[in-house]
Symmetry: D2
Subunit: 371 residues, 4 copies
């Protein structure tokens, strides 16, 4: 597969560009019988939508999902589910100039090398964060499927922006409060300080990095395929597909480097009648298999490359360095808008693995096919 | 694919168990015409071999590679290359007891849940670090292929053990000195201190975490496929397949969270006639594409789960917690022996991508097929 | 992959239903730089369109292709190409009744078993010949790509309808005359007799079987991957994906059973400076590899299952056999409308293999990216 | 995948050469808990073994299977199952000469074009029928799995040799008598005449074509994935991977071309409490899905290309046509030895689809993991 296809049994195909006609997705392999309509997809898409707050890009997109296939009488049919959002508020004026002076930190130049200049560079084209709207449409279906069949929930939130780190919170607080503010941090005090940092960065024509933590609960034990499709392998692969991700870690993550085995090992215990690790340093995955504890993964997002501060870059016509000022409409931080994207990507991988493991059947019986 | 298969065009199939008859690998898709014999594979395998120093397991395995297919008259034929090492020094006595009291931090219990108890648990079976001998056999071929066709080199080394961090070193030092000591750290002073930490941990019946950094040089610009097979996605997937990996980061990695766009962006410049990023915060990958700068990836290894210190675990027969002492032969740290494994895995992914991109042709012409 | 995805490097994803909103396709892996617009796709789609003659279904569909992504400034970008035709003339009234009395020869009942009754049964849903509109959109791109890069042409025509067999014709006649009549047979006299047979069948409320032959010329030698992706394997797989195909044969095909090696073997000779088989009993493929001679494949299409003659079937409500009369709008023969579909499917497989073999590069340089 | 890999969930990887060290296979995805030992595989392998009768090649190979991995305590573990047979009776002397004068009807020349002359040409290398020993090892496992879980049986036999066609026989006769004679035709009278034809061909230094029919019973309804992985698509793909196959047809096959819908349609009826087609013109597959009736597929094998009669071919050194006499040890007909190969390939595809459909679980519980 050339790369726009993810998964084995719950397969996601991504298409569309930032400034083209649409952004879309096809899901192949969704079980039949899942109640589904645009109303199931739109709310998550709305959480990703630009132009919603002072800390995101002012680009205005309605992002109304249209389901083109695979649903009949309000239920999935087992056929591929194609979905699109149409691009409306496209302003490509500022991008022509950037062909000559590629924006530092962007893929523009390397994409043009790879595709011989034929790539659609407007708004970053395929390399734009906008294509994650497709991930979210697929994610909304995966989330609904996981919840309906296995009771799995996937919840992400912003854990850190710059130097501001949110304290650890119980799952319930994350579930209820993660979308309660524009920065998507369930701890209000941290959220307030994060907003400050973001505003400050934007005010100085700059951007700031962020960390998203994602927790998946009720994941059955033993999920994960061997070796190259271990659960952490497949999650990491999918997460690094989100633009701007520079690091992925599970559980204690990079913290294990300084630890001793005697403190890092999670001993088994009996909890609610199940044998599970008492502590969760492993982040819910050992040997590539889920342990029955919550899966905990953290994702580092770089500060957005588009900043209004003047920057040095190379003018490809003159082959001299010069100053460039990137205009256009951009986010000063990625984490907050990435929260629904991370949830989506994690859900897609879990749905794929649950189907592979035979935990979700090809047909969700028990609902009446002809309502 | 169920998970023992990696790649699209340079495909690696892993098989074998820790205490079974052998550990092996099949490579499908290696171009024809590459000079290859056991002598090309053995040296890297020797670097991974157990029983070589005071800081590794005393298990003695000769690990002599045998090429079973795909090579004719000293050159690859384009047919699948099957390779094995036979297991010799197998001592499974200590493992029966562990079925009842699963070792903390190991996959034993979760594997038994997944496979209904049918999995070969001896020595960890498929979940043992020993299966990485197969990765290394494949890696040796990939490394030779990359060097011969594109001049790409892949070099890993131990960057950190516990609190001991090696200073940044020039590529040349890494190339020449990374295998010069048992801890595989090219900085001798750091290496000496790392060995101390490891010995101390072992002496107290414990183990310690480690960090491996891997650098790939001469990677052509624009390598990487779109979105879900971006270069970082595929590298991360493969790296998380190595047992005990808990985190993967590129370039500045998790350091981006605290950074500003203005400092993190790598401006373009002209270097040796090519347009490349002047700095390399991105670790050689932007938008999933290689930038022409060295690829820099860091991998966090947890301390080995097997320690001789008494630990609490659950007795599955009595369902009571009790103390377990893990005997058997084990490494007190993973990083040093993982160095050739990391190089192998990175090389396999780069070879796959180079073939996908048409940069390595299906036949290496220019050598005489009938020497 | 669940089955709606074909290919490795030129990947086709099919979606849409007969009576849903649309029929569509995504191509992932088309090289960048191919001039492409709706005008390149529409003509082939028109040749497949229903309602064009007395021997095809009266369903009227404009079938105007819309390219949704992957094309910029008149050229492919290397990104996925999504294309749709919208369904307009949908009349699902007659299909409700068929849920109770499944049409003989149709997939209706078996699909309902597989999908638990959740499948969209209207007009056959995913099992309708209408989804081949997606194959044709992909095929038009593949045909253009093959012609532009390697000079490959793919030409199918109706070789037989019922007992009427067209004589062998030179390639030039096939190229020029295959679309010159409604039955898509380049031999006018045979075409006339075929039309008679078809009309006769329709007049008696019946349908008739047909045979399509497809010839691909200028296919370079050695195309085809080993064993399970041999050229004939992949062509056969794709051809059996066309609804109603019951047999596929290459060259002399089933005729080999009665032949002797001494007559069936194609000796090598020198032709136009190339070493190729003098005769072409093999149909251009030996050992799964193209020989340099034209590829010749024949495909048997059953008579359409939908006939207006009364037929016996089971009433699923009463579980008694009864008479059913299938109304709706249907073709009395499949071959003629399948001709562009066969060309498309063969072209898609050849394009995929040519890219796998490195014969078509990822970027078609030599055209200016910014016209 | 480059082509030596087949399947999605029951994955078969083929390796080895005719005159190399071994022929082997890896199965990835076999469920855990299936009782398995060499004794389960050897009998089918024996049926394929050369040197068994006057109508097969005199090459003597013991073909003793060795299971290298994936089995523990007599049961599959869920890990990859690697199996090999070692090549013993290799005589490559006659093959050097053929490099200059390629054998008519063989892949030798085209393989050498594709692989730049690096391919192992001895005995046909990867293009030899000998690699089907690997298919049979995988097939034996698939057959056992299908029988143990779903009661599916797969039975092939020689239906035709030259002009001799065996009459239709009941399933029971096929089951019991197909391996009762050297020509693998359950009808003794036909078998006798087929042997005559084969002897006659051999006596005149020639070879003869053959037709194998394969029947699969107890296949559950609705097996088959959509469109490109329809059951007939995947079966055809796998069958065309067997060397020398030139045609594949299901049910009435090419006979449909002359038929009318009213006679070809299989009406539904109630049989043993299930709704199934009353007749089986469709060969058990409609719309790519199994109908519940026996699957019937016929495969045309060309006469073996290796004949001792003098033939014309091109001398690649002189570029002149000359006479060549192919020595070496060869079969005069393919069908009889292909019978277990066809059964194997069909079983592998059915096992893959049954797992994809969730009809065979990842773990076969109900047997005790520790006997």
């Amino acid at each position: 597969m050339p790369g726009n296809v993810l998964g084995e049994r719950f397969v996601v195909v991504s298409f569309g560009e930032s400034h083209g006609r649409c952004v879309g997705v096809v899901i192949d392999g969704c079980p039949a019988g899942l109640p589904l309509s645009e109303e199931d997809v739109q709310p998550l898409l709305d959480l990703r939508r630009p132009g919603q707050s002072a800390i995101s890009t002012p680009r205005k997109e309605e992002d109304r999902v249209e389901i083109l296939s695979g649903v009949f009488r309000g239920r999935t049919t087992g056929a591929p589910i194609a979905m699109v959002v149409w691009n409306r508020d496209v302003d490509s004026r500022s991008y022509e100039r950037l062909l000559e002076t590629p924006r530092p930190g962007h893929a523009d130049y390397f994409a043009s090398v790879k595709y011989g200049g034929f790539n659609d560079h407007r708004g970053g084209g395929r390399f734009s964060g906008r294509i994650t709207a497709g991930f979210v449409m697929a994610g909304a279906v995966a989330l609904k499927l996981l919840k309906a069949t296995l009771g799995i929930e996937v919840m992400a939130y912003v854990k850190q922006v710059g130097d501001v780190i949110a304290p650890d919170l119980p799952i319930d607080a994350i579930r209820e409060r993660r979308y309660s503010n524009e920065v998507r941090c369930p701890d209000e005090e941290s959220a307030r300080r994060m907003v400050e940092v973001i505003r400050e960065a934007r005010a100085s024509g700059d951007s700031v990095g962020s960390l998203v933590e994602c927790v998946a609960v009720n994941v059955p034990q033993g999920l994960g395929e061997p070796v190259f499709s271990s659960l952490d392998s497949d999650l990491a692969r999918a997460l690094f597909s989100i633009p701007a991700v520079k690091g992925v870690e599970f559980g204690k993550g990079f913290g294990v480097v300084r630890s001793r085995g005697s403190e890092n090992n999670d001993p088994l215990t009996l909890m609610d009648g199940r044998v599970v690790p008492k502590t969760n340093n492993a982040g819910g995955i050992v040997g590539g298999l889920s342990t029955g504890r919550e899966i905990v993964v953290r994702i580092a997002f770089k500060p957005p490359a588009s900043i209004s501060k003047p920057q040095r870059t190379l003018n490809l016509a003159t082959m001299r360095e010069e100053e460039v000022v990137v205009t256009g409409r951009h986010d000063p931080v990625i984490g907050p808008r990435a929260v629904p994207v991370v949830e989506s990507v994690v859900a897609v991988v879990l749905a794929d693995h649950a189907i592979r493991a035979g935990l979700i059947p090809p047909v969700l019986r028990g609902t009446d096919p002809r309502p």
